[in-house]
């Protein structure tokens, strides 16, 4: 049944205004990974990426990203061709929890010189480069939705959210994008 299509919640949307462009990120595989401090090293070894243990930090290796979300929680993401699922299945015997959340989340790229202003229309965190440098990531809020924010470069952010919130988050970013010019 290869005609069973995947439909991404924000498929086909685009937005650009002065200093800002929004774009849905392509589908990727995602796992919510939970492990205690004793198991972190072993878990990292199994999936081939040392898990970041510093708050608000992320690590990307061989196209697999690991985002620190909490002291025992990471979001592991990779493009479908990376074979992340296979790597994660190696964790079956390890004392940890790996749950596939590929379809739970979707993501939006927010890019441009006004990216910070657009995000700060609804995100109360300090997103200056000193407080939130490249590679920083955090679960936080935008408007009335929870998001995970990852700074890929000074002017490019990835905004992850749950799929049913994505329409709201997109609309919020568009509204903020229109009004961000000072």
């Amino acid at each position: 049944m290869d005609d069973v299509l995947q439909i991404e919640p924000l498929a086909g949307r685009r937005f650009a205004a002065t200093g800002i462009a929004l774009e849905p990120a392509p589908f990727c595989e995602r796992f919510s990974l939970r492990a205690g401090p004793e198991e972190v090293a072993e878990v990292g070894k199994e999936i081939g990426i040392a898990l970041p243990v510093k708050p608000k930090s992320s690590k990307t290796l061989k196209k697999i990203s690991a985002l620190w979300l909490g002291p025992d929680e990471w979001l592991i993401m990779a493009a479908p061709e990376t074979g992340l699922s296979a790597k994660m299945s190696k964790l079956d015997g390890t004392l940890c929890s790996a749950v596939d959340v590929s379809h739970r989340n979707t993501a939006i790229y927010v890019e441009g010189p006004n990216a910070l202003a657009v995000l700060n229309a609804g995100c109360p965190q300090n997103l200056s480069l000193t407080a939130f440098p490249k590679g920083a990531c955090s679960r936080t809020i935008i408007g009335k939705s929870e998001i995970i924010l990852l700074r890929e470069s000074p002017e490019r952010f990835r905004v992850e959210c749950w799929r049913s919130f994505s329409d709201y988050v997109w609309n919020f970013l568009v509204d903020a994008g229109k009004s961000a010019q000072i």
Binding site: P55, G70, Q125, T140, I141
Partner: protein, 123 residues
């Protein structure tokens, strides 16, 4: 909007990332099935509700997701410290308590209300 130091994220974060979770250091009785109605009421309903130093729980719901404890002055709303869940109730130093104390709002020392006769005379 309060600014709350998350002991797990090791950073001050805005209140809207958090959920308040009530008074801290109220342990669920290990033998809960056997306690009396009065003890259950004490555990589940009765609260210190202190005016002054409060020990309270927060959850960094829209952050690291962790529950943790905080010490705050409930008059000034200033935090003295936060610490991880499971850590013992901290001893506070004089300085810590003083730093979070509210300042008196009154511009001058309290004086009693004059009696009517005195006020009348002053006219």
């Amino acid at each position: 909007m309060l600014l709350i130091q998350c002991p797990y994220c090791q950073e001050d974060r805005p209140e809207i990332e958090f959920q308040g979770a009530g008074e801290a250091h109220i342990a669920r009785p290990a033998n809960i099935a056997d306690i009396s109605d009065a003890e259950f009421s004490e555990y589940f309903f009765i609260r210190d509700n202190t005016k002054g130093i409060v020990f309270e729980r927060w959850r960094h719901t829209h952050g690291c997701g962790r529950f943790f404890n905080a010490v705050r002055n409930s008059i000034s709303d200033k935090f003295i410290m936060t610490y991880k869940a499971g850590e013992p109730k901290p001893e506070l130093t004089e300085e810590q308590i003083k730093a979070a104390a509210p300042i008196s709002k009154k511009p001058a020392a309290d004086k009693p209300e004059p009696s009517p006769s005195k006020a009348e005379k002053a006219k």
